[in-house]
């Protein structure tokens, strides 16, 4: 009886485990497949692929630096804009919000993540880009002389991409940051209040306690921004150039894939594009893995550190 039951258990474990293995293998397969399909480009360009500025399908010369630059620059700027707002939202929803407003406001902010990327892009083309163009044209000449605002005011370009990316990233960062704050033991805030802290000082104590998780939340948003495709493709201007200017039309790794993949006529061109995909995959893999490790570590410390009150009780009795 007991042998048959444990063999049942083993079969259950093996059966479900084998299926679950598909998931693990799938991640490995993505990396392997991208590596395999981009052999031609890797063999021909080697490391120069990462630092070459020229992307010229006609002459068969491919360098990914403008795309890597565009992806990193747009994501970092979007993050700089989105992070304070996302953390503000997380703090408001978990610490300050009246109970009756919490659920509807949480629902609404998370709705930002539910709107399809293509709809953001459509809105970007017809509303954001004209608005950005008007803003760019209205900027005084003194500011336009700065490298950040140089170039003609065309509307499509880095600024539009950054704005739309920032809005798209907010819900991801804020929802994880909210979970992190929720995991911070109430005693942390109570201790701060007991020492005479103001509301903000108590929140700051909670943020400090959850700092690992908060950094994880920000990195998660970064990972999202790096890989965002449609909305960025539709507003960034798709011009492979490296420029500090927010007004300049630039290009990202995801956007070049979306635009040129079906047009790649020869094998080298296709392999170079797949290698761009590989680079994007590797970068997002590191950012996401880092973010997950931080969030997991945060959750573990939060559960470990909530234990002390039980230990502390006898000490209080003794006193």
């Amino acid at each position: 009886m007991s042998t048959s039951s444990s063999s049942h258990d083993l079969r259950f474990r093996l059966g479900t485990g084998l299926v679950a293995l598909i998931l693990v293998l799938l991640v490995a397969a993505i990396g392997f497949e991208l590596l395999r399909q981009s052999q031609l480009s890797i063999a021909k360009f080697g490391l120069s692929f990462w630092i070459n500025d020229v992307w010229d399908p006609v002459s068969g010369e491919f360098g990914a630096r403008p795309f890597i630059w565009g992806t990193l620059y747009s994501s970092v700027l979007a993050l700089a804009l989105a992070t304070p707002i996302a953390l503000g939202i997380a703090i408001f929803l978990s610490e300050l919000c009246p109970n009756s407003l919490r659920q509807p406001l949480t629902f609404l902010t998370e709705l930002l993540a539910a709107i399809p990327s293509i709809v953001y892009g459509l809105w970007g083309i017809f509303v954001l880009v004209p608005a950005v163009r008007a803003f760019e044209a209205s900027l005084p000449a003194a500011l336009r002389a700065l490298p950040f605002f140089s170039g003609p005011p065309v509307g499509v370009g880095m600024l539009s991409a950054v704005l739309i990316l920032a809005v798209m990233v907010i819900p991801f960062t804020s929802s994880v940051a909210r979970e992190v704050l929720k995991a911070v033991p109430m005693s942390q805030r109570e201790a701060a209040y007991a020492l005479g802290a103001t509301q903000w000082e108590a929140i700051r104590a909670a943020l400090y306690y959850g700092r690992t998780g908060i950094v994880g939340a920000i990195m998660l948003g970064f990972g999202r921004a790096l890989g965002e495709t449609m909305a960025v493709t539709m507003v960034i201007g798709n011009n492979p150039q490296i420029s500090l200017s927010l007004f300049a039309p630039q290009y990202t790794m995801a956007a070049v894939l979306a635009n040129e993949f079906t047009e790649a006529a020869d094998e080298l061109y296709l392999d170079a594009l797949i290698e761009v995909g590989l680079v994007l995959f590797v970068i997002t893999l590191f950012v996401n893995a880092g973010s997950r490790v931080l969030i997991w570590r945060m959750n573990r410390t939060a559960t470990v550190r909530t234990a002390p009150p039980v230990v502390a009780a006898p000490i209080g009795d003794a006193a």
Binding site: D9, A114, I118, V119
Partner: protein
Amino acid sequence: MRNDAVRRLISKVITSLCAFAVLVALVPLALILFLVITQGILSLNVDFFTRMPAPVGEAGGGMANAIAGTLILIGLGAVFAIPIGVISGIYAAEFSGTKMATAVQFAADTLNGVPSIVIGVFVYGIAVLPVKQFSAAAGGLALGVMMLPIITRTTEELLKLVPISLREGALALGATRGWTTVSVVLPAAAPGIITGIVLALARIAGETAPLLFTAFNNRFFSTRLDQPISSLTVQVFTYAISPYQEWHRQAWAGALVLVALVLLCSVLARYATRRLERLQTGH
């Protein structure tokens, strides 16, 4: 060090800024929803659902082929992702804490973070390049790969919410572990899992990037799995970047349908989860 009034002022200012941040995020949401609804309603009519796209320069027409295409692609993705996702989720929940379960969770989170366009490139490499043919099957596979991690994590999290007493009850009656999971734990979590899956399907229906070079696009009505197929999102993209007014109107109508679909599913899911929560706290 600093006097109390200043500290209290700083606290007030910062907490007000936090409330302001919520407003800042809700403004674009309101603007986008308002525009999609007002613009979309102008060109949304019965034709949109029943007619084929009109040629350039002709007014009217619809997206019947794209709507059918999206449904087919989502269906294919679901057929691939639901069984694997639910079983992987069961494994991750039942053997939580083991190395393999942690690997599964980590793989799901990693896969969830892989940019959708990269998943498109991957599926192009395994399902399009070998046969030199864009196909609905490849598009469905790409969407399935996107759904898989969401379904896995949803299943896992909901299984972990089932009260341990239910499980203990079944085990005490002599059920095996597998039988307990399948006949007691899974049914208890099923409404939540189904809700999660519906929400995942609605979100994936809004994906464009993984379809660009897997399912591609098709001007005609097609239900064949080995042929390119149209989808709402790719069609909206094509229309949005075209120079034609009439196509722009169609793009807004398509956007409205997509947003309505996601909104409806989100609201339903929220309603369902709240009822579930009430049921669970009820007894």
